[in-house]
C-alpha cells in the first residue's frame, strides 16, 4: 500500500477543486483511504492521517471516525504523535462523549512526563476541554505542578487550575496552599496567570476574597514597578510595560477593593498615578485607562478620583477611535446612577453620539441619553431624542418610543408639551409603539381638560395626512368621538382653529372603517366614535345609516357593536344621550407610564381607578371581566353611565357591575354615585324570568326609600333562588304631582363589598297623580352579609325642567341582608 499523501499535498489538491462537488469527491476519496489505513492499525502514518482529517474537519466534513485514533496518538511515545493527538482531541472530542474519558489516564501520565513540553501539552488540553470528571481525577496532579519551580509549567498549571475550579467549584480549597507565594514570582507569565487564578477564586468565594485582601499592598507594589520601571524590551507594548498584566492586576484590585475602605484607600494613589500618567495615544494605553476607570468607579474611592475617572471617560467620548467611544458609553451607562451629576456634564457629547453611524454606539448613546433626562433638560433632550426617533433603524424605534413616553410622563413641563410629544412619536414611529400606549395616551388626553379642543384638532389633522399608523388612528378616532363638537365649534385657543363640517368629520371616520389599512381594533374604535357623535352632531340620520350597515358586517365584533348601537337608536333612544356622554376625568394610578395599568374589579381603593379601556364600550382586546369603574371627581357634574363591557353569553351570565361608593372618608356628600348598569339587551328577557323565588323571601317588609317632591320610591324584597346571598329588590316609583315625570332614570350604587345589577325599567315615564308606577328590579349580591346601604340618583323631566336628586338609603330591614 503506497504511503498516504502528505498533509500539504492534500491541502494543495483540495484547493484546486473548482466546484463544491469536486471538493466533496476528493474529500470522500481521501477519507476512504484514511479509513482503511486506520483499520490496518498503521502506526507510522497515523499522525499524518489524523492531521489530514483535522483539515477536512475544518472545511466542514465529518471526522468522528478519527476520535479513537487521536487517543492512540496521545498514547504514543513520539512527540509528534502527541502534538497532533492532543490537537485532534481538542478539535474532535467534547466532554459530552464518553470517549473523552479514555484520555484521562494518558493525560495523567503525561502530566508526569520527563519532558516539559509533553507536560505542557497535557496541561493545555486539560485546561481547555477537561470535563468535570477528568478535573476531579486530575486536580491533584495540577496542584502539584502549581508548586513547581519550573515557571513554564507553573503558569500553565495556574490556568489549568482556573479551569478545574470553573468545572468543579468544590475543589477550590485544595489550591489555596499553593497560592501562597505565587505573587513573589518574577516571571511575568506566572504572575499573570496567578492573578487570573486569584481573581477566579475571589469571584467565587467571599471567604477567599477576605483571605486575599491582604495581598493588596503586594499587588500595588507590582503595579507600581511596572509603571515606574524603565523600558523592558521583553514586555513592552508601545512604550507600556506588560499591559496585559497591568490590566489583570487592576481588575483584581477592583474585586478586592469593592466595599472595603482600607483596601480602597491602599490603592488610591496607584490608581491616580495610572490614571494621570498613562500614555493615551495608542489603544494599549486606553485599555489600561479603561480598566482603571472601571476600578475607580467600583471601589470606595474618594470623590476627586471619581471625578478624574469620569473626565477620562469624557475624553474618551471625544476620541476619534470608535472603539474608545463605545467603551466610554458603556462605562458611563454603568456609572450614571451613582455619579449622575458628573455624567450630566458630558451630556452634549453623549447626545452627539446619537448621530454616529455605528449601530452599537447609537444604542449605547440612546440608553445613556434616557438615563440623563431630567426636569431641567427635558425640552432640549427630547428634541434630540425625537430627531433620533425619526431617523433611526427600526430595531431602535420601539425602545426609543417607550423611553420617550416614560421620560415625557416623568418630566413634562406642560400638558400641551406632553401631548405634542406623544403625537410626534405616534406620527413618526406609530407602528412601533407598544400596545398599552393607546389607553395611556387617551387617559392623558382626558385629564387635560383645557387641551381637548387643541388635541382633537391636531389629531384630526394628523388623520387627514396618514391613516396607516394604527395607534395614532385609534387615539384620534376616540378623541373625535369624544370631542367632535369642539372640533366643529372651532374653539381651539392654542392654534388657528380649523373649519370643518360634520360631513367631513364623518367622512374621515367612515373612511377608517372601510380602509384596508385599518385593523379590526381600529374599526371598532371608529364605529364607536361615529356612534358617539350621534349625540354631538346633528347628522343623526347619516350615523344611523352607517350603524345599520355594519349590523351585517362579517367581522363579529363590528357586527355586534352595530347591532347594539342600532338598538340604542330604536328601543333605547331615551338612554342614548346619557350613555354617550362625555367621559369623566380618570384618576391615575401610581404607575410610571407604559407599565402596569391596575386592573380594578371594585375591590381596590376608590382612588385607584383606571379602566383598562377607556371607551365605555367593549374593546375586543378586553379581558373577560373587565369592568368599567368610574368614579366622578366631586366637582365633575357629568353623569356616568356605562354600557356593559361584555355581552351576555349564551349561558346567561349575569353582569356584575360594581358600583363603587366612597362612603365616609374624604368624599364630601353628596358625591355623585357610581353608575348603575343597564344590562345588555340580550338580557332583556331575564327580567321576566322566574329567577325570583318568593318562597324563601317571604316576610321581608317593604320600605320607602325616597319620598320627595311628589316622587315616591318604594322597595320590595325577594330572595333569589338558588343564591341566598342575592337580594332582589323591586323599586316602585310613583308620582303624586299633576304632571308626568318623563325621561325618568333611576340609578343606584352600593358599597364595595356588594355587587349590584340593575335590570331594565318598565318604562321611563312616571304618570302623574299616582296613575301608575315604574318598576325596576335591582339584584344585590351580598356575600359578606354586611349591612346593606345604597345611594340612589334620580333624574327626570317635570313640567319642562330637568330634575336631579341624590339620596342615601339606609333603612333597609335587617332581613334583607342577613
Amino acid at each position: 500500500m503506497p504511503a498516504p499523501i502528505r498533509l500539504r499535498e492534500l491541502i494543495r489538491t483540495i484547493r484546486t477543486a473548482r466546484t463544491q462537488a469536486e471538493e466533496r469527491e476528493m474529500i470522500q476519496k481521501e477519507c476512504a483511504a484514511i479509513r482503511s489505513s486506520f483499520r490496518e492499525e498503521d502506526n507510522t502514518y497515523r499522525c499524518r492521517n489524523v492531521a489530514k482529517l483535522l483539515y477536512m474537519h475544518m472545511l466542514g466534513y465529518p471526522a468522528h471516525f478519527g476520535q479513537l485514533e487521536c487517543l492512540k496518538l496521545i498514547a504514543s511515545q513520539k512527540f509528534t504523535d502527541k502534538r497532533i493527538g492532543y490537537l485532534g482531541a481538542m478539535l474532535l472530542l467534547d466532554e459530552r462523549q464518553d470517549v473523552h474519558l479514555l484520555m484521562t489516564n494518558c493525560i495523567k501520565n503525561d502530566l508526569n512526563h520527563s519532558t516539559q513540553y509533553v507536560q505542557g501539552l497535557a496541561l493545555c488540553t486539560l485546561g481547555c476541554m477537561g470535563s468535570s470528571e477528568m478535573c476531579r481525577d486530575l486536580a491533584g496532579e495540577v496542584e502539584k505542578l502549581l508548586k513547581t519551580s519550573n515557571s513554564y509549567l507553573r503558569k500553565k498549571a495556574a490556568l489549568c487550575a482556573v479551569h478545574v475550579i470553573r468545572k468543579v467549584p468544590e475543589l477550590m480549597e485544595m489550591f489555596l496552599p499553593a497560592t501562597k507565594n505565587l505573587l513573589s514570582e518574577k516571571n511575568h507569565g506566572v504572575l499573570h496567570t496567578s492573578v487570573v487564578l486569584l481573581t477566579e477564586m475571589c469571584e467565587r468565594s467571599p471567604d477567599m476574597l477576605a483571605h486575599f485582601r491582604k495581598l493588596v499592598p503586594q499587588l500595588v507594589r507590582i503595579l507600581k514597578n511596572l509603571i515606574m520601571s524603565g523600558y523592558s524590551p521583553e514586555h513592552d507594548v508601545s512604550g507600556i510595560s506588560d499591559p496585559f498584566l497591568q490590566v489583570r492586576i487592576l481588575r483584581l484590585l477592583r474585586i478586592l477593593g469593592k466595599g472595603d475602605d482600607d483596601s480602597s484607600e491602599a490603592m488610591n494613589d496607584i490608581l491616580a498615578q495610572v490614571a494621570t500618567n498613562t500614555e493615551t495615544s495608542k489603544n494599549v494605553g486606553n485599555a489600561i485607562l479603561y480598566e482603571t476607570v472601571l476600578t475607580i468607579m467600583d471601589i470606595k474611592s474618594e470623590s476627586g478620583l471619581r471625578v478624574l475617572a469620569i473626565n477620562i471617560l469624557g475624553r474618551f467620548l471625544l476620541n476619534n477611535d470608535k472603539n474608545i467611544r463605545y467603551v466610554a458609553l458603556t462605562s458611563l451607562l454603568k456609572t450614571v446612577q451613582t455619579d449622575h451629576n458628573a455624567v450630566q456634564r458630558h451630556r452634549s457629547t453623549i447626545v452627539d453620539c446619537l448621530k454616529d453611524l455605528d449601530v452599537s454606539i447609537k444604542r449605547r448613546a440612546m440608553e445613556l441619553s434616557f438615563a440623563l433626562v431630567n426636569g431641567n433638560n427635558i425640552r432640549g433632550m427630547m428634541k434630540e431624542l425625537l430627531y433620533f426617533l425619526d431617523s433611526c433603524d427600526p430595531e431602535f424605534k420601539a425602545d426609543c418610543a417607550s423611553g420617550v413616553f416614560l421620560a415625557a410622563e416623568k418630566y413634562a413641563p406642560s400638558k400641551r408639551w406632553h401631548i405634542d410629544t406623544i403625537m410626534r412619536v405616534l406620527t413618526t414611529a406609530g407602528s412601533y409603539v407598544r400596545d398599552d400606549s393607546v389607553p395611556n395616551l387617551i387617559q392623558l388626553i382626558t385629564n387635560s381638560v383645557e387641551m381637548h379642543a387643541y388635541t382633537v384638532q391636531r389629531l384630526y389633522k394628523a388623520l387627514l395626512d396618514d391613516i396607516s399608523q394604527q395607534p395614532l388612528v385609534q387615539v384620534a378616532s376616540w378623541c373625535i368621538g369624544e370631542y367632535g363638537d369642539l372640533l366643529l365649534s372651532g374653539q381651539c385657543e392654542e392654534e388657528e382653529p380649523i373649519q370643518v363640517t360634520e360631513d367631513e368629520v364623518l367622512d374621515v371616520l367612515e373612511g377608517l372603517l372601510v380602509s384596508n389599512l385599518s385593523t379590526p381594533v381600529t374599526r371598532g374604535y371608529s364605529l364607536t366614535a361615529i356612534m358617539k357623535l350621534s349625540t354631538r352632531f346633528s347628522s343623526v340620520n347619516r350615523i344611523k345609516k352607517v350603524v345599520s350597515i355594519y349590523g351585517s358586517s362579517i367581522d363579529v365584533e363590528l357586527q355586534q357593536r352595530a347591532v347594539e348601537y342600532n338598538a340604542l337608536f330604536k328601543k333605547y333612544d331615551h338612554m342614548r344621550p346619557a350613555l354617550l356622554e362625555r367621559m369623566p376625568i380618570m384618576e391615575k394610578t401610581a404607575s410610571n407610564g407604559p407599565t402596569e395599568i391596575v386592573q380594578t374589579n371594585g375591590e381596590t381603593e376608590p382612588s385607584v381607578v383606571e379602566p383598562k379601556h377607556p371607551p365605555p364600550v367593549n374593546q375586543p382586546a378586553s379581558q373577560g371581566n373587565d369592568l368599567l369603574d368610574l368614579l366622578g371627581g366631586n366637582d365633575v357634574p357629568v353623569i356616568q353611565t356605562t354600557m356593559p363591557t361584555k355581552p351576555a353569553s349564551a349561558g346567561g351570565e349575569l353582569l356584575d357591575l360594581l358600583g363603587d361608593l366612597s362612603l365616609g372618608g374624604p368624599a364630601p356628600a353628596p358625591a355623585p354615585p357610581a353608575p348603575a348598569s343597564q344590562p345588555p339587551f340580550l338580557l332583556d328577557g331575564l327580567s321576566s324570568q322566574p329567577l325570583f323565588n318568593d318562597i324563601a323571601a317571604a316576610g321581608i317588609p317593604p320600605m320607602t326609600a325616597y319620598n320627595k317632591n311628589g316622587l315616591k320610591i318604594d322597595f320590595t324584597f325577594e330572595r333569589a333562588n338558588p343564591n341566598p346571598n342575592v337580594a332582589v329588590i323591586t323599586i316602585h316609583a310613583s308620582n303624586s304631582t299633576e304632571a308626568d315625570m318623563t325621561d325618568f332614570v333611576f340609578q343606584a350604587a352600593v358599597p364595595k363589598t356588594f355587587q349590584l345589577q340593575l335590570l331594565s325599567p318598565s318604562s321611563n315615564v312616571v304618570p302623574a297623580l299616582n296613575q301608575g308606577t315604574v318598576t325596576q328590579v335591582i339584584r344585590v349580591l351580598n356575600q359578606q352579609k354586611q349591612q346593606l346601604r345604597m345611594r340612589i340618583k334620580l333624574t327626570y323631566t317635570h313640567k319642562g325642567s330637568a330634575v336631579q336628586d341624590l339620596a342615601e338609603v339606609n333603612n333597609f330591614p335587617p332581613q334583607s341582608w342577613q
Binding site: L7, I11, R12, R15, T44, L54, M58, L59, G60, K78, F79, T80, R83, I84, L87, L91, D94, R96, T115, Y117, G120, C124, G127, C128, M129, S131, Y152, K155, K156, L159, C160, V162, H163, H188, G189, H192, T193, V196, V237, D242, F244, V247, R251, N283, V284, N286, A287, Y290, E291, K322, N323, I324, R325, Y326, V327, L357, D358, V359, S360, I361
Partner: protein, 148 residues
C-alpha cells in the same frame, strides 16, 4: 474568552478554538451565523458588538478576520491587544505571515495559539518566551522524526 475564530473574507474558516463545551452541530451553527454577521458589517464600524448574549471583539488583518467572544467582565480593548499579539507571533514565526501560511500550516497556528493562550486566558505575556517555547517544541519534533 469563550472562543476564537479566524475566517477569510469569503467566510471560510481557517482556525477555530473553542474554550467552552459545545457540540459539533452547535459550533457549526454559531460559526456560520457569527461569520455572516461580521462580514455584513461595514469597514468603518467599531470592533465590538453584542451578538446573542456574547460580547464579540473582531479585527481584520489583510484577508483574515480574527474574532473572539469574550465574557461580560472582560476588557474589550485589551482583547484587541491579545488579537494583535497573536498576529505578531504568527508574523514572527512565519516571517511576514499571510493567509496561505495559515491555510497550509494550520496545525502550527494552533500550536502557537496554545502557547499563548490556555483556557481562554493569556499564559505568557512575553513574545520572546512564546516563540522560544515553540522553537523548542519544533526541535523536539524534528528530533523525534529524525530517529524514526
Amino acid at each position: 474568552m469563550q472562543f476564537m475564530l479566524l475566517f477569510s473574507r469569503q467566510g471560510k474558516l481557517r482556525l477555530q478554538k473553542w474554550y467552552v463545551p459545545l457540540s459539533d452541530k452547535e459550533r457549526k451553527k454559531i460559526s456560520r451565523d457569527l461569520v455572516q454577521t461580521i462580514l455584513a458589517r461595514k469597514p468603518k464600524m467599531c470592533s465590538f458588538l453584542e451578538w446573542r448574549d456574547l460580547k464579540i471583539v473582531y479585527k481584520r488583518y489583510a484577508s483574515l478576520y480574527f474574532c473572539c467572544a469574550v465574557e461580560d467582565q472582560d476588557n474589550e480593548l485589551i482583547t484587541l491587544e491579545i488579537i494583535h499579539r497573536y498576529v505578531e507571533l504568527l508574523d514572527k514565526y512565519f516571517g511576514s505571515v499571510c493567509e496561505l501560511d495559515i491555510i497550509f500550516n494550520f496545525e502550527k497556528a494552533y500550536f502557537i495559539l496554545d502557547e499563548f493562550l490556555l483556557g481562554g486566558e493569556a499564559q505568557e505575556t512575553s513574545k520572546k518566551n512564546v516563540l522560544k517555547a515553540i522553537e523548542q517544541a519544533d526541535l523536539l519534533q524534528e528530533e523525534a522524526e529524525g530517529r524514526v
